[in-house]
Subunit: 292 residues, 2 copies
């Protein structure tokens, strides 16, 4: 038994990281700089990877580098594989810490979202017999899946259809409509319901700009924001508007008004965890959430 050909592996993590860097930068020099190595070894590593795979990943002229179709596949799949490696590493480290002082379960939640649901979940879980300690990790929008995939969190509350749940196990918790949060006294607040089109064309209330996955901000007229308290203050100052799930109404401050957005797609809050989770504590938490 175990007569599998155990040798023969082609792609090594270092090479894969190198390739991802080049594929993201589309520039060997910058990629090398980012990786902290010189450019020639990087060129050789990519060439060797292509030779071993027997596949052209990049088409380079001396002035530009572009991905081939297989190269795009490797970028996508390679990122997932590297995430899985990082996740393995982080989970092992956390398992080792759990053996000593128990940090319990890390729950990733988008800061400012699902406040009521989160409170109910935590209090319901606290009374469970043998409940693990829960550490709530508040993070920016869309960062929960990153924490989950990289193994720095065990379970997360996500919001469909915004978060990408590909490769995660999920259970639905609740579905709700969305409301627009506007400065009190703004003309739009007199309406009973709004459409998304009404909100796009408001010159004095441009949409806010959140940091992207790389930490940078997209271009646009709206203010740069990085947390929800700041965002709500900007709304009350009449500088921006934002569309959020209606449960956020319960925690709106003075000076802002919520108006239903009738044609916004409903938001579903799900609890998500990485596959292969053998953790009893996570399973228990999910079960508690489903009973809410």
């Amino acid at each position: 038994m175990t007569a599998r050909a155990e040798l023969r592996w082609v792609v090594d993590t270092r090479e894969l990281r190198y390739f991802v860097a080049v594929a993201e930068e589309l520039h060997f020099g910058r990629a090398a700089q980012r990786l902290g190595i010189a450019q020639p070894p990087l060129s050789r590593a990519i060439s060797r990877l292509e030779r071993r795979l027997g596949v052209a990943l990049l088409t380079r002229t001396s002035r530009s580098v572009v991905l081939t179709a297989p190269g795009a596949v490797l970028l996508e799949e390679g990122r997932a594989a590297l995430d899985a490696l990082d996740a393995a590493e982080n989970r092992v480290r956390r398992a080792a810490l759990a053996a000593d002082g128990e940090p319990g379960v890390v729950l990733a939640v988008k800061a400012g979202a699902s406040g009521e649901l989160l409170a109910k979940l935590l209090s319901a879980h606290a009374v469970e017999p043998g409940a693990a300690r829960i550490e709530v990790e508040l993070c920016g929008p869309g960062q929960q899946t990153r924490l989950l995939r990289s193994g720095r969190a065990d379970v997360a509350l996500l919001h469909l259809p915004f978060d990408d749940v590909a490769g995660l196990d999920t259970e639905e918790l609740l579905t709700e409509g969305q409301v627009a949060v506007l400065p009190a006294g703004h003309p739009l607040t007199t309406r009973r319901g709004l459409r998304l089109a009404d909100l796009d064309g408001v010159p004095d209330l441009p949409h806010p700009r959140w940091p992207g996955p790389d930490g940078g901000y997209p271009d646009g007229p709206g203010p740069e924001v990085h947390d929800s308290a700041q965002l709500l203050q900007l709304v009350s100052l009449g500088r921006t508007l934002v569309v959020v799930p209606e449960s956020v109404r319960a925690q709106l401050p003075e000076g802002v008004v919520a108006v239903p957005v009738v044609d916004a797609q409903p938001v579903t809050t799900v609890i998500a965890w990485p596959p292969h989770s053998r953790s009893l504590a996570v399973a228990q938490l999910v079960e508690t959430a489903l009973r809410l």
Copy 2:
């Protein structure tokens, strides 16, 4: 931007493969043999891995090797990460082939299962405009997920609750009861319905033995089988019995009889695909399947 600490990686694929081998064998000598290297480099590699992680993965006495709790986590997560790496490699290779002659989509199906559904799906897909060529990969029970996870298939038909769909995206197709397939003329065939307990205690019809993930067969009195045609022949010869979803009735040969099993849990057939699938062809196939 991209000021992330890009260096700092701890776990290398070679070391991870080495660790998985040792963790599976729980024996450095055998693991080294399986890996095709000598034992001392293996010991050093594991030690180095533990030192870099700062975590004890194995407790070794000079007579035995056992996994620590973090070691068990690394075994589980590491396998998933290695699968992801293999998958990336295979998908890149397949994407490269697709650029030339197009092998289209590989659909993994358990040999002998879902025959009717499969036929309907293939014919429905064939009339779709711009339908990709579909290559059906017939495999043993439980092997579909392996093909999917390792990137050798793009989409699969699985059967809950038998197959493990952790980490796969799925859509339900149909749910059905199960029937016992028995040799014609056997006393049990006179019954209108059976219970699982009725089938366990039949001395002349022991359950068949399928190959496990490692290709080996478990111990037991039943015959070793590796494909469904052989299995049905063994049933008609009065050597074994088998419990299958009721849709299989449509393709039973002479000499065997199907009897409903009233307390068997219903089987749900799902279509599954790996996450991060950017493939239009897979999406189209899934959509077609959902319309059946």
